[in-house]
Amino acid sequence: MSDSTVEPRQPAPAVAAPTALVELSSVRKVFDDLIAIDGISFQVTDNEFVSIVGPSGCGKSTLLRMLAGLIAPSSGAIRLRGRPLQGPARDVGMVFQSPVLLPWRTALENVLFVAEMRGERRRTYRSRALDLLRLAGLAGFENRMPYELSGGMQQRVAICRALLLNPSIILMDEPFGALDIITRERMGFELQNIWSASRSTVLFVTHSITEAALLSDRILVMSARPGRLVEVVRVDLPRPRERRTLSSPRFVEIAAHVSETIAGGWVE
């Protein structure tokens, strides 16, 4: 904004509170007459894995797009490392429901795409890209074209791409929504591995309560129309979480609780 009015700088707070990585305060988004998001506030700290669950149409994707700076909130504020977000956030990695790979690029070239968009040389990021692909179990597939990869592999390439520039936060919008249930489960564990190895912060939108409970430190449960934050569920299961975590009593308890909360928000 090239507004010429210069405001006096705010004095720094006397006691520096630990700045959250992401901070939403009373964020509201209205499309024409439809209230998509109605006053949501929450914080995400470094290295946290936070899921957002809720019924269809609760504005999860809208929330994520606002966090990326792709759309602006109607009111309220979003801060990234204490600084208000204006325009597309450059320190954000994004994974969509579909892989969004460029069909003329190999897996490796697709991962490097974001580096090229930033104006970096491919060479600088090549070894990191190869490491990420290996971490995602794609060693040997670096030079394959997207159409030669399965849906799950394509989505893993997309996750590597989101991680390449080492963003402060990775936003995932139902990244496994288009996969079959078996691949989906395996991808959950893969993501946990990649996440713990790369020490990144993840905000994960999903429809799957199992997925949310398995991966998250916290689950934000939203209600639909208007999208509101109903409850924040802390997932205190030990890490790394494994297949047998799925049948532990604590896991089942948490999943049931989230499920009931969503149902409650729905009836309301």
């Binding site: 990326a68 579909s98 003329w104 795409f113």
Partner: protein, 255 residues
């Protein structure tokens, strides 16, 4: 399993030979006069007699066609770019172009002879005019038919308009532009030949017209044969480019 070229071409070649044999030995039993439909052997003899003149004139037609096509490629892509990046051009130019496209472009040919003379210029410009629209329309589709998520991704990574243009839009448009060329190439040839029909004394169109005046039907057939070989070679060249550089296209994938 990729079939060898010899096996792939076997059946078409056999059927062409069959048709030629039927033509050669069946025609004398009908009462179709030879000036209406000459025998294949008569066409071959005429092709041999006039080969030098045919090749020379084909060269003229080929040059005007390819120059017109090249011009259509450059202007067509530039117009598509202008439409995308300059909103005023989009608002003004697109309706004008759509209206202009409604005129049968062959009908403009006589005007082009008046404006640009009997030389090669009028033929090049006619070839250009006919090839322009398919290339322009295809280039435009290729530059805009891109998932919105791709742009979001590029912008989040810090992509500038120029980088997005070079690495996303242009790459996406390439197969569309090639399709435009495939349609535009035979149309450019039509432009050149119609130009030669209307005015001038060079080119394969001129040769065909003189064949008509002299009832030299074998010459007309010989000219048609050569011109279709030229078109086939051109399309084959474009397909080769596709196979080499656009192997990722769904239609070109080898499984």
């Amino acid at each position: 399993m990729a079939r060898s070229p010899a096996r792939r071409l076997g059946k078409p070649i056999a059927s062409v030979i069959a048709v030629l044999l039927l033509w050669q030995f069946g025609l004398p039993h009908t009462n179709i006069p030879t000036y209406v439909l000459p025998l294949p052997t008569a066409i071959a003899v005429r092709l041999d007699q006039t080969f030098g003149a045919l090749i020379g004139n084909l060269g003229v037609t080929a040059s005007t066609t390819l120059l017109g096509l090249a011009l259509a490629l450059v202007i067509g892509v530039l117009l598509a770019l202008a439409v995308i990046f300059v909103p005023a051009v989009n608002a003004v130019l697109v309706p004008v172009l759509a209206a202009f496209n409604g005129i049968p472009k062959i009908a403009i040919a006589p005007l082009f002879i008046i404006w640009f003379g009997l030389g090669l210029e009028s033929k090049i410009l006619l070839a250009f005019l006919l090839a322009l629209f398919p290339i322009f329309v295809n280039a435009l589709s290729g530059l805009v038919e891109i998932e919105a998520d791709v742009f979001d991704l590029a912008r989040l990574a810090g992509g500038t308009t120029m980088r997005i243009f070079l690495k996303v839009r242009l790459m996406n448009a390439l197969p569309f532009i090639v399709d435009g060329l495939k349609v535009g190439f035979p149309l450019a040839l039509v432009g050149s030949i119609v130009g030669e029909f209307i005015g001038g004394n060079r080119g394969i169109g001129h040769l065909i017209l003189s064949g008509q005046f002299n009832l030299d039907t074998p010459l007309v057939f010989a000219a048609l044969l050569l011109i279709s070989l030229f078109t086939t070679a051109g399309i084959a060249l474009i397909s080769l480019f596709e196979k080499r550089f656009l192997g990722w296209r769904p239609s070109r994938r080898q499984r």
